[in-house]
Symmetry: C2
Subunit: 330 residues, 2 copies
Amino acid sequence: RCFHFCKLPGRVMGIRLLRFTSVVIIVLLLVAGALTALLPTIKDDKLPNSRREPKPQTQSALDSFTLIMQTYNRTDLLLKLLNHYQAIPHLHKVIVVWNNIGEKTPEEMWNSLGPHPVPVVFKVQAVNRMRNRLQNFPDLETKAVLMMDDDTLVSAHDLAFAFSVWQQFPEHIVGFVPRKHISTPSGVYSYGSFELQNPGLGNGDQYSMVLIGAAFFHSGYLEDFQQQPEAVYALIDETQNCDDIAMNFLVAKHTGKPSGVFVKPVDIRNLEKDTNSGYSGMWHRAEHLLQRSYCVNKLVNIYDGMPLKYSNIMISQFGFPNYANHKNKM
Amino acid sequence: RCFHFCKLPGRVMGIRLLRFTSVVIIVLLLVAGALTALLPTIKDDKLPNSRREPKPQTQSALDSFTLIMQTYNRTDLLLKLLNHYQAIPHLHKVIVVWNNIGEKTPEEMWNSLGPHPVPVVFKVQAVNRMRNRLQNFPDLETKAVLMMDDDTLVSAHDLAFAFSVWQQFPEHIVGFVPRKHISTPSGVYSYGSFELQNPGLGNGDQYSMVLIGAAFFHSGYLEDFQQQPEAVYALIDETQNCDDIAMNFLVAKHTGKPSGVFVKPVDIRNLEKDTNSGYSGMWHRAEHLLQRSYCVNKLVNIYDGMPLKYSNIMISQFGFPNYANHKNKM
């Protein structure tokens, strides 16, 4: 009446052998279980166990962002800024776009000064191009990108807040540097900031761009950027400028709304003067602003229209840094 | 070979008669057309033609708003405020909710001091109830409502800007007075403002309500308010308070997001002290704030949960009043 499977063991092996085999199997399973429990502490990058609560292996793609920082001839600033930015909350990874052609990256030194809070990837470039930072890097795992110039320091508080704002406006460029275009009776556009006349839409000023040198935006826009007309790349390469204006055109076209959302920074600093390299950045060139007006008009030609839209929304953090920063005399 | 319809006129009436009839019909049509062209200048309210460019008969329901102002025992303030608010850009109509039971409205005086920029309707109430202002008034033609307390003066600049912000966030209460709830270890909620501890979600403070006594919201929420549990009306009637807290619960439940968007006012004033009536408003009652904490907990019971969500977004107008109000030391 016994089933087929119990005939063999019972008769062929004997009851004693059966018990011994069962014990061996159970012991092996326990050992395997113990080994599995020990596995998570062995990491590929051979970092020692952290004394504090271990960080989860990967943060959710929606809850973290990737910092992309392009660098040229300011490695001292780069390393100073990396020490700051590597510890920003919700940072997933850093991608350094290395525009110092033919020069070794500081990767060795970086590794020797580990461990670091997040992975940092040095992407060596073949040619020194402004638009190198707008590639669709395969290293990108997050939905959000934080793009920073290699001479700009924004406080962790500002970044944490701006990231939370981006999460509420994911199709916009959410950042700290607003700019605008204005049109003139001749139909020719001009580029500028608040010292330029207001666009004349009611009270106050308006902005139509948020610069990507200190901003969050959706990584999908890097994919979109690869699909732009050749003339756009030619323009950016010709001027070594205007990649940010081109991105604002792209985003505005895509959304049909103002491309950017301006978050007023509490603590933003330009560290240019602190560099030992003597290199002082593209925006000091005499033709810089004229080039940007030139780019606005060229892009209007390329895209056959002006897609940029105005906004006058300025966002600040409620109750920070001053807990009563919204108080009024009511 | 002629069709049926031409047989009769041709033979019965004669060609000459046909021509005469045609001419008469054409003349009548021309006269009717001329009369129709003259119609718009004859208005029901018998206001004389304005000397300046005549205002379009109705502004688009999306581009204008209705001011709803409830009033009790402060008619001097009401009239002072109406002189201010009647001229706000994009205002469509004013609805005054008259809580002075048994007292005549100032309608006669109002009309004698015409013409006025917009229609003002005095809604006489049967009982002096706080929630009278939350009726679904048939006079409402616009999507947007601006609700103001009868002692609050907000500048036209602030209102114009806040209205533009509401148009970008139409499902939220967009206004000038933020408040919050906080939870305590016992599970009992407390109501307060910035002097109360931060909810502890990172840096800075948070708000979870925007009070409707100085705010824009969608007129659809007045419809929704009529569908609330009886216990909500009973609570508001019992306390003569908390209608605004109830509205925030309603909106938060409806959107699943923070109910309000806070716009930082440049110029908001409480005119309470200026009234001749000696009446100083409900919020001076000793139990006012305790009542509001009580209401929060009662509403959580009624709605079986806490729907309010926190936000720390503070919106200001870019470049106004100071054209460089976003400038930083970069």
